[in-house]
C-alpha cells in the first residue's frame, strides 16, 4: 500500500468514527505501525489547517476526531437549531477544577477547599459524566473519592490532563494534574482493591 492510499484510508476512518479513534486502532485496521499512523494524521491535520477548511481533525482524549472550525459555529447552530444551553455553573466548574487538580479527592475534602456544600455540584458533574467514583479512601468512613473521566477530556477538548496549565505551588499532595490517575479507556471499575 502506498502512502497516498494509506492517507486516504486513515482519513475515511476518522471521518466515519463518531468517537475519537485512537492511533492504535487505526494502525491495526490499516496494518501499519501506530507511529506511522500518527505521522500521517499530523500531516492531515496540518493540511486542513493550512487550507483553512471548515472542518479539522482534533486530537482529543488520546484519539482523533473530525470537528468543525469554531468560527463556523453560529451558522451550524442556525441550521441545527440547537438550544443554546448554558455551560456549567460557577459552583460546578469550581468543584470540577478541584477534582481535576487534586484527584482522587473526596467530597469532604472538596468542601473544605470551597467552604461550601458541593453535594449538588457533584451530582451534576457525575450526571454529565465529567467525574466518576474512583474507589474509597482509606480513612474513617471510607468516603468515596472522585476523579475526572474520558468524557471530561472530550468536553474540554483535551488530549490528556497534562495539557492543562500547572498551578504553581499548589499546596497539597498533587501539585499538578496527575497522569497516574488519568482515566483509562477501559471504563471498568477501578474500585476498592
Amino acid at each position: 500500500m502506498n502512502l497516498i492510499m494509506a492517507r486516504a484510508i486513515i482519513e475515511s476512518l476518522i471521518f466515519t468514527s463518531s468517537e475519537p479513534i485512537t492511533g492504535k486502532t487505526i494502525g491495526e485496521i490499516v496494518g501499519i505501525s501506530e507511529h506511522t499512523v500518527k505521522q500521517i494524521v499530523f500531516d492531515l491535520i496540518e493540511e486542513y489547517q493550512r487550507s483553512k477548511r471548515g472542518i479539522q481533525i482534533l486530537e482529543v482524549a488520546n484519539g482523533f476526531q473530525f470537528c468543525t472550525h469554531p468560527e463556523c459555529a453560529p451558522y451550524i447552530e442556525k441550521l441545527q437549531k440547537v438550544p443554546r444551553n448554558v455551560g456549567l455553573s460557577q459552583a460546578a466548574i469550581e468543584t470540577l477544577a478541584i477534582v481535576t487538580y487534586k484527584q482522587p479527592i473526596t467530597k469532604a475534602e472538596i468542601e473544605a477547599l470551597r467552604g461550601v456544600s458541593v453535594e449538588s455540584a457533584i451530582t451534576t458533574l457525575v450526571d454529565k459524566g465529567l467525574i466518576e467514583e474512583a474507589g474509597r479512601k482509606d480513612s474513617p468512613g471510607r468516603p468515596i473519592m472522585y476523579r475526572t473521566t474520558k468524557q471530561f477530556l472530550k468536553y474540554f477538548g483535551l488530549n490528556d490532563l497534562t495539557e492543562l496549565p500547572k498551578i504553581p505551588e499548589w499546596i497539597g499532595q498533587n501539585a499538578a494534574p496527575n497522569t497516574e490517575t488519568e482515566p483509562s479507556e477501559a471504563e471498568t471499575d477501578v474500585g476498592i482493591n
Binding site: S18, C67, E71, P74, S89, S120, F156
Partner: protein
Amino acid sequence: MDYEIKLDVFQGPLDLLLHLIEKEEVDIYNIPIAIITEKYLDYLQTLKMFNLEVVGDFLVMAATLMQIKVKMLLPQSSFNPEETFEENETDPRWELAQKLIEYKKIKEASLTLQKLETHQSLVYTRSGGEFADKKITAAVDPLKDLSVWDLVDAFKIILDSLEEKPIKSLPKQEVSIKQRMTEIMDLVSKEGEVLFNKVFFEVKTKLALITCFLAVLELIRLRKISASQSSVFGEILISIPEKVSNTA
C-alpha cells in the same frame, strides 16, 4: 410567598471574603479583621433576604471571623490553656489566609476550564443525530469582568435608597420572577443597553426589588442578558449579549 427560588450563583463565604479583600485592596496575609468582618456581616444582611440555601455556610464563616476578631483582641499569651495548644500561638488569621490563597488558586483553575469550555462549545463533531445532546455553552461570558458580588453591591445601594412610603391601601400586587424576567427582557431589547439602576426604577417595595434582582440574576444565568462595567466603580450596564460570530 408562594414558592422559593434557590440560586447557586452566590459562590459561598470564601468567594465573598475574597471579593471583599480585593475590593478593599488589603493584604491577604494581613487582613484588617475588624473592617472585613463588618463588611462581611453587612453583605450577610442583604443575602439573608434571598432565602439562600447556603446562608448556613455564610453564618459559619461569620462566626469564624468574629472568633478571629476576639482572639486578636486577647493578649498573645492566652489564659486559656486549651486554646493555645490548638492555635500554636500563631496569628489567628493564618489559617484563614491559607484557605483564601488555596481558594484563589481554585478560582484561577476554574477560569482556565471555563475558557476551554467556551472554546470547545463552538466545535461540533460529526456524530450524526447527536446534535440535540451536544451541550452548548454560551460563547460570551455574561458577567464579563463583573462578579456576582458587584451586582449585590449595586443592589444594596438601590435597597438602601428605598423609602417605603406609608401605605394607605393595600393593593395586592404580586409579580413573579418570571413576569419580571419578561419585563426586563422587553426593556433591554427595546433600549439595547440599560443601566442596572434603571431596571429597578419603578419598583417600590422591598419584596418587589428582591424579585427583580433575582430575575436579573436568572437572566444572566440563562445568558439572555449580560452585565458589564466600564470603570471600577462605574455604572453597571445590562445588555443583550453580542452574537457569537463577533467573538469566534
